[in-house]
């Protein structure tokens, strides 16, 4: 019995010794034979294993057929990092790396990083393609680590860049949306750190509720915009041509559905490429169509006219005596050509863009009503889903001098943002109802639910009749005056108005040789699908908007009619 017990003890001891030997042999291979491999692996985990790869929701354009095209998404690739302590031959390593990714690494930067022997991890190149990264990794260069990386990617590059916005570190160490929709919908687009995967069993023990109904899934998602990529491309292309041809300071444009406020295209020139921000001028990162205010000039006349028609102080048949120039509060207001027209009806004020006529209409309307209409139209932000929306400068119509109202009637002395302007003009197109302009139609939540956004905060500012009467005048302008009637489209009615404003000279007055050109229009006139607003700031060598923006406006009208197959509303051959 005792001998049997001793044998058992020996057997157990032998097993223990055998296992211990196995462990010692294993440790020998781990620590001695494969020491370098494991130390490199440990370095990598120490340096970058703690944080997961960058993750963020997508932003989509919506094509006319409803297909979603990424405006902002994620790209996957590799980064190259050095461990100067284990990097034995920097020159050889550089040659090997540059043979794979020559454009990614600067020679001097690489050698400077390799010389920092006190550090174990220095990133020297980012955004290598998958093929380059795998080739480099296969070279197995001592002291060179090739790690997976993910970053924000904008497939359209400059396309709608100022609306989409950017993601950057800002002042902190967290990547977040800083401008545009990236900033506006940052809460929706941001992914919490554990979003990559969930440990099901750990979740059971730690947070059963979160496993069943995830708070993040109800908040995180992708953003679907109303921007149509081909329309946006066309608008950007046209604006770039105008800006380059006339050496303007900037040019911008918006194409919107006047019935819903859905913006199909919103562009400004110059723009930037969100994939390459190193050389970008920070002043172009914002969205001038939403942030900046301008004196728009004569495209304000249809608004003055509709206000007066709505108030009942004039009718389309009302006449006035146009003297060419008038003096108000010791200031002189003249028509663009200084010529008197005599007794003429209201429609000629719009068709011939008469400043004296617009001032006469403002006088008929009266200061109080003028103030009420313009405050209703421009007195508050539009609520568009782009950050840093500007506010209109309407101080002049809070004063009692009539000259301020007379000049505001033709768009001088008050300044509004382009988005406010198109919203106000949209009320004429939309039967007197002012809609809320917006860029996002829906959120695709990670939970699988699609949440449509409610943009139905409509305001009735004009009567249907007043809006239609002004539309008649603007349609007559295109049919009879624009390009001397050659711009008329026999099968589609188009309503439009040009605007030329003098720019301020910085000394309290206006520069006689520098202008702000604007152009607006909508079509088909009496059931409009689109409203367009264009402007170009300080074009050189040209005075009137009809010279700079005519062709651009008409190109967009014809493009939209063809692209959307807009049915004719007149001149149909039976």
């Amino acid at each position: 019995m005792r001998a049997q017990f001793r044998n058992r003890i020996r057997l157990v001891l032998a097993c223990v010794v055998f296992v211990a030997l196995l462990i010692v042999v294993r440790l020998y291979f781990v620590q001695i034979v494969h020491e370098q491999d494991y130390s490199q692996k440990a370095d990598r985990q120490f340096a970058s294993g703690g944080s997961g790869l960058f993750d963020r929701g997508s932003i989509y354009f919506t094509r006319k057929d409803g297909a979603l095209i990424s405006a902002a998404t994620l790209q996957t690739g590799f980064l190259v990092a050095l461990n100067p302590q284990t990097l034995t031959n920097p020159e050889a390593a550089y040659l090997a790396i540059s043979s794979v990714a020559s454009s990614s690494i600067d020679h001097n930067t690489f050698l400077a990083a390799a010389a920092k022997k006190s550090q174990i991890y220095i990133e020297v190149a980012h955004r290598l393609s998958g093929t380059d990264g795998q080739t480099l990794s296969a070279m197995n260069i001592p002291g060179v680590q090739v790690l997976r990386e993910r970053w924000r990617y904008y497939p359209g590059a400059t396309l709608a860049s100022q609306s989409i916005g950017i993601v950057s570190y800002g002042s902190g160490d967290t990547l977040a949306g800083r401008t545009g929709l990236e900033a506006m919908y940052d809460t929706t687009l941001t992914r919490s750190g554990d979003a990559l995967y969930k440990n099901f069993f750990a979740e059971i023990f730690s947070n059963v509720g979160n496993l069943l109904v995830s708070v993040n899934d109800a908040r995180e998602g992708d953003v679907v915009t109303t921007i149509e990529p081909e329309v946006q491309t066309r608008l950007e292309n046209d604006l770039a041509k105008v800006n380059q041809r006339y050496s303007s300071k900037e040019s911008g444009g918006i194409i919107m559905d006047p019935a819903t406020g859905a913006i199909l295209a919103l562009a400004s020139y110059p723009a930037y490429d969100g994939n390459n921000l190193q050389s970008v001028d920070p002043t172009v990162l914002g969205n001038p169509l939403v942030e900046h205010v301008h004196e728009f000039g004569s495209i304000m006349k249809p608004i003055t006219m509709t206000s007066a028609l709505d108030a009942g102080v004039i009718t389309p048949e009302t006449t006035y005596t146009d003297t060419g120039c008038i003096t108000v509060n010791k200031a002189t207001i003249c028509n663009w050509d200084m010529k008197a027209r005599g007794v003429i009806p209201m429609r000629q004020i719009i068709m011939q863009s008469l400043n004296v006529g617009a001032s006469w209409v403002a006088t008929q309307l009266g200061q109080e009503k003028f103030h009420d209409y313009f405050t209703k139209l421009f007195g508050q932000r539009t609520g568009i889903d782009i950050p840093n929306e500007g506010v209109a400068l309407l101080d002049n119509i809070n004063k009692s001098q009539q000259i301020n109202y007379d000049t505001a009637a033709f768009g001088q002395g008050i300044a509004v943002t382009p988005i406010q302007m198109i919203r106000a003009l949209g009320a004429i197109a939309n039967g007197g109802v002012m809609v809320q302009p917006h860029l996002v139609s829906a959120i695709h939540l990670d939970s699988g639910i699609t949440r449509s956004l409610d943009w139905n905060q409509n305001i009735q500012v004009f009567s249907v009749t007043a809006a239609r009467e002004t539309t008649d005048m603007m349609t007559a302008l295109v049919d009879e005056k624009l390009e001397n009637g050659k711009a008329k489209i026999p099968t589609t009615s188009v309503a439009a108005k040009t605007g030329t404003a003098q720019l301020v000279d910085g000394h309290g007055g206006y520069d006689k040789n520098r202008f702000f050109h604007s152009f607006t229009g909508f079509f088909p006139s009496y059931n409009p699908r689109f409203i367009i607003l264009l402007y170009t700031n300080d074009p050189q060598g040209v005075q009137y908007a009809s010279e700079t923006l005519d062709a651009t406006f008409l190109d967009l009208v014809h493009f939209l009619i063809d692209y959307y197959a807009v049915p004719p509303d007149r001149g149909i051959t039976q």
Partner: protein, 119 residues
């Protein structure tokens, strides 16, 4: 009298004796040894624990691989979308007049049933 009666009836009741013998056989089949019960329980728990670890690790690995592959596919789609948008830009920038095309002299619209879904 009552005492004798009880003694006699208890000793001679055959049915109850059979039940007791049956119980004895049952317990002898699963002899209740405390170390054995503990050992069995621990063995079971260890097997379950190792199984859970294996399942959790496999689940985590699969989830990571799946989410990585989804992101990789998204990146490939983004590259294709970039190409599509470049083609749109190229098409938009083409000057058709310079390329030898001319605008139609006139367009005539006639009532017809729509032949596309994009109306």
């Amino acid at each position: 009298m009552d005492k004798n009666f009880h003694h006699t009836s208890y000793a001679t009741t055959p049915r109850k004796r059979v039940v007791l013998l049956g119980m004895h056989n049952f317990f002898s089949l699963f002899s209740f040894s405390l170390p054995k019960i503990c050992f069995g329980t621990i063995t079971g728990l260890v097997v379950i624990y190792i199984g859970l670890i294996a399942v959790v690790m496999s689940y985590a690995t699969l989830t990571i691989e799946f989410s990585q592959s989804v992101r990789n596919d998204e990146a490939k789609v983004a590259t294709l979308e970039s190409r599509y948008l470049k083609i749109v830009e190229h098409t938009t920038a083409i000057d058709y007049a310079a390329a030898g095309y001319a605008l139609p002299i006139a367009k005539i619209f006639v009532p017809a049933k729509s032949v596309t879904a994009l109306r």
